[in-house]
């Protein structure tokens, strides 16, 4: 395709998109913009993913774990042409989706900070319930940024501030990174040396919202909450130029928010040793409204980029928290489109994610047509290889070896004992059941997190991780036949081809090719009469394989 024709095509597509916005669904607009950006390289694009590839990917991205054996067989034999869309809607409505998004949001918001003042489990439950009811993102952020930890109902949402001990620097930096996509750490001590848009006054403008607030410990309950004074400003000095400046609360380049006239009595409750300060005018409470306001474009651009990155494996802006004019998005119109969609749909993340995974861009195969040529990643010619998060890896392992299903059965039985009319198909009961299963398995997930969590989202594998997978007792125990788990089901299956097929379905959500089946059978034959040992070793080898470790 010549450049002229390409640009004409882009023009037509854009014109078309503008005219037909009402009727062209978002996922198609996404595809149009991505396809248009591929230019001459479009011929190298991988084809649409096969059903098995799609099935595993969509389960990992929406439910945070691989599908069960039966689900996989059923999906692959289903001939309904709309089965992908149906599966997407089924998964998005499931409590497992809420759990998965809870994990994702928790890591994004809390970066695995240790317990401080608030039990992480309570905060996680709060996030889980929020996702379950599909609470709009702007509302969630408002709750998190305004909570002071006093009210029992909303106390867990104060973990964002309290776990950071309301340290002004940590909180300022994280508000910039997480809600605005701007890591302004370098602007703490001076204007950023190489990024023109990161100014010291931006940093301190955010600090100014927080600076009057402090941690208050109630001597009776022993609980720590957030109090605030009615005075106090923010001054800062550049370590480079020694210039001193001050700022009122101010979000980036939006107008500063000046304090109203000082009332004669500025306090609702004076800050004293035994009482938490509550001013009539709170600077801290001005933060959430301005962050989530429509004037603050960064808020919607940031979350749109993060949703995109979550399912596509890379952000339209990378790194996710380095948005600035010299690091523009790879697809500016696309990012605008997604951000505007969120503004229009009332920050409905579930609806946005649904559109993203419906796109052909998302559903492309991860297998590369041409391996010789290094294809640029940002053109989405093939699906990105995404390492499983520690939670996805833990849950997928437990699902594959049959532990998740066994726990599910146990918990259903327990709940039925308490309530004979318990029905796992009822939405609210299903949510409760998911929580019970989650609680029962949490310690195992924590073991994976302890080994696999990392401060970077670039993939890096350590020897400790390999040792955990190869030799760790946790997985060794899971590979002993018990409670109708995988090994229990396979121990009496005579035909080795059938064992191979079941293993592939349980672990990799697909049938083996004939070559794969043959080599697995010959692996099992080496163990002779010790067939259970052989099956356990084969299972473990697959659990340690790259195909299992990545989402593809």
């Amino acid at each position: 395709m010549t450049p002229r024709i390409t640009s004409l095509l882009i023009f037509l597509i854009l014109a078309d998109a503008a005219n037909a916005q009402e009727i062209v669904p978002l996922h198609q607009q996404v595809d149009q913009l991505i396809d248009a950006s591929q230019g001459d390289l479009a011929s190298h694009a991988s084809s649409r993913s096969g059903d098995a590839e799609f099935l595993r990917r969509i389960h990992l991205d929406l439910a945070g774990q691989v599908p069960g054996h039966e689900e996989a067989e059923q999906f692959l034999t289903d001939e309904d042409p709309a089965k992908r869309e149906k599966l997407i809607d089924h998964l998005l409505a499931s409590p497992r989706h809420a759990r998965h998004l809870q994990h994702h949001l928790d890591v994004m918001l809390m970066q695995r900070l240790p317990k401080k003042h608030i039990e992480p489990v309570q905060w996680q439950e709060y996030l889980y319930r929020s996702v379950l009811e599909n609470k709009p993102w702007n509302q969630l952020v408002e709750e998190i940024l305004t909570a002071d930890g006093v009210d029992k109902e909303s106390r867990s949402s104060a973990r964002f501030m309290l776990a950071r001990d309301l340290n002004f620097d940590d909180t300022t930096r994280d508000i910039g990174r997480i809600f605005l996509g701007r890591d302004m750490q370098c602007a703490q001590c001076h204007d950023h040396p190489s990024i023109d848009d990161y100014l010291q006054r931006h940093y301190y403008g955010i600090t100014a919202f927080l600076k009057r607030s402090y941690l208050f410990k109630d001597s009776k309950s022993g609980e720590t909450s957030i109090g605030e004074k009615a005075e106090g400003g923010v001054k800062f000095t550049s370590v480079f130029t020694n210039e001193e400046d001050s700022t009122s609360p101010r979000l980036l380049d939006l107008p500063a928010i000046e304090d109203p006239e000082v009332a004669e009595e500025p306090y609702v409750s004076k800050p004293e040793k035994e009482s938490r300060g509550v001013p009539k005018y709170s600077r801290r409470l001005q933060l959430a409204p301005i962050i989530i306001s429509a004037q603050n474009r960064n808020f919607r651009i940031n979350i749109a980029n993060r949703c995109w990155a979550m399912v596509m494996g890379r952000g339209l802006v990378e790194p996710l928290d380095m948005m600035h004019s010299t690091n523009p998005p790879t697809h500016p119109e696309l990012l605008e489109l997604l951000a505007d969609e969120l503004l229009d749909n009332g920050y409905d993340l579930r609806a946005l994610i649904r559109q993203l995974v419906l796109s052909e861009t998302y559903q492309r195969s991860g297998e590369q047509v041409e391996r010789e040529q290094a294809l640029p990643k940002h053109l989405y010619l093939y699906a990105e290889l995404k390492p499983l998060t520690p939670e996805q890896l833990a849950w997928s392992t437990m699902q594959s070896v049959g532990l998740a299903a066994a726990t599910w059965r146990e918990q259903v039985a327990l709940l039925k004992k308490d309530n004979p009319s318990f029905d796992p198909d009822n939405a609210e009961m299903a949510a409760t059941l998911e929580s019970a299963v989650n609680t029962a398995l949490q310690a195992h997930v924590d073991s994976f997190v302890a080994i696999f969590a990392s401060g970077t989202n670039r993939f890096s594998a350590t020897a400790s991780q390999a040792l955990f997978l190869e030799n760790g007792e946790l997985i060794t125990d899971w590979l002993k036949p018990a409670n109708s788990n995988l090994l229990d089901r396979l121990k009496d299956v005579e035909e080795l081809e059938l064992v191979a097929r079941q293993l592939y379905f349980s672990l990799l959500s697909r049938p083996p090719t004939s070559g794969e089946s043959a080599s697995l059978v010959s692996f099992l034959e080496q163990f002779g009469s010790e067939r259970i040992a052989g099956i356990a070793q084969a299972t473990r080898a697959i659990l340690c394989s790259a195909e299992f470790r990545f989402n593809h």
């Binding site: 620097d169 401060g455 890096s460 350590t462 020897a463 030799n471 163990f527 080898a541």
Partner: protein
């Protein structure tokens, strides 16, 4: 034949850099190479080229007055005398007689002011070269990132300790540069093959896994799969070296001492010889709010011999030129002696000692006043020290980290290295 597991192809045992450079190592026969780094030639290459760090962390805050900056006969000086050292003009506390004999291999930094008296904040500042909780890597992870060969035979950064906190040492650097914690001289977790699994069963499984990965990688971007594979190779190499953790030579233990710290120092020597880039040993128990003097007799009595033995061994084996040695804490102790004969937390005027790679030794840099209550000359903090450690190792700490899309200065750009300490 435990070591030669056969699942490590030649090119995985050698660092890619060495391989491409066509060094002497690459020319060795397969058998010698599969013998691992215990082969003398390889060990020599390692000794010559690879820079390393030995960190001795005196947890809780060693008293500068009972170690590197004694003030005998003054108001807060305490009961101990000073002794001369192998460097004319430098005197240290009498509790370190053997270390004193090796003072020519070390330098003292006496003017440290961290402006914090908090254990956690002091530790972070000393390790990250930045104040506060900011997301920066520890000096050990930075060293591992920029100095460790592509395929380090052992974990590039290990910490030998009996207890202590789990730290996020790698921050934004890759996880393989994070610290691996060793519980004393016990092997790392999960080193033993599970249950009844015989070695040949394990090998069969590894081979099968590799076969699966080959198929998968043939249709996918290779680099991630390779890096995943590499972690299993490193694990296999570590398992093959299990004996490092199993027995320590009785003869060497006679020299180092049979208590924990003696054993840890001996293991540290082994890990450095075998190719780890940063080895940290924690000696616990310096937080002497009560009975400071009795405790320091005990603690430093335990410290002195193993440390001096280790330092002497590194020198004698020709490793000191390539190994930066740090003896440090999170802070020092108050000059003022409290009513329990203790000294409290004190970040504002204290000392550490450095030696080895890139360090101008035999010097005492900076000074405190006569009573030791404040720094009077060449005041420095964790930021200056961080630059100094890295520049001593030949890392340009004023450059940015090699992270795509980000510009993160390695050391705090507001401060510089202690130039007069660098050789």
């Amino acid at each position: 034949m435990k070591r030669n597991t056969g699942c490590q192809p030649l090119d995985h045992l050698l660092s890619r850099r060495n391989f491409l450079a066509g060094s002497a190592v690459a020319g060795l026969g397969g058998a010698a190479v599969l013998g691992g780094l215990s082969s003398p030639l390889v060990a020599q290459t390692l000794k010559r080229d690879q820079k390393r760090i030995l960190q001795i962390y005196l947890q809780g805050g060693v008293s500068q007055l009972e170690s590197w900056d004694p003030k005998p006969g003054t108001e807060y000086g305490g009961p101990f005398q000073t002794i001369p050292t192998s460097v004319p003009g430098i005197h240290i506390c009498e509790l370190l007689p053997q270390t004193a004999q090796l003072m020519h291999l070390l330098s003292i930094v006496r003017g440290i002011n961290l402006k914090t008296d908090d254990h956690h904040q002091g530790r972070l500042f000393m390790e990250k070269g930045r104040r506060g909780e900011g997301n920066y890597p520890y000096v050990g992870s930075v060293a591992a990132r920029y100095l460790a060969p592509d395929e380090s035979p052992l974990p590039s950064y290990v910490h030998i300790s009996t207890r202590g906190l789990e730290d996020d040492t790698a921050a934004f650097l890759d996880a393989r540069f994070a610290q691996m914690k060793l519980e004393g001289v016990a092997p790392p977790a999960n080193m033993g093959r599970p249950g009844q699994l015989a070695e040949n069963g394990f090998l069969r499984r590894s081979k099968f896994r590799e076969q699966l990965n080959q198929q998968f990688a043939s249709r996918r971007p290779k680099s991630l799969v390779d890096s995943y594979d590499a972690s299993f190779h490193r694990a296999a190499q570590l398992m093959a070296r299990q004996e490092l953790f199993e027995k320590q030579s009785e003869k060497e233990l006679d020299r180092y001492g049979r208590h924990d710290f003696g054993r840890f120092c001996l293991l540290a020597r082994t890990m450095l010889e075998e190719g780890s880039t940063c080895v940290k040993v924690t000696h616990h128990g310096y937080d002497t709010h009560a009975e400071n003097f009795n405790f320091h007799v005990e603690q430093l009595g335990e410290f002195d011999t193993p440390f001096a033995t280790l330092l002497g061994d590194l020198e004698q084996r020709g490793m000191l030129e390539s190994t930066l040695v740090m003896i440090y804490s999170e802070f020092g102790r108050t000059p003022k002696i409290n009513h329990r004969y203790g000294r409290d937390h004190w970040g504002s005027a204290w000392s550490i000692a450095l030696g080895g790679c890139g360090i101008q030794t035999g010097a005492a840099i900076g000074a405190t006043n006569a009573k030791g209550t404040e720094v009077t000359d060449r005041e420095v903090h964790g930021g200056h020290l961080f630059h100094t450690y890295l520049q001593a190792l030949g890392i340009d700490s004023t450059a940015n980290h090699d992270i795509p899309g980000r510009e993160i200065p390695i050391g705090d750009p507001a401060v510089e290295a202690i130039k007069e300490l660098l050789s």
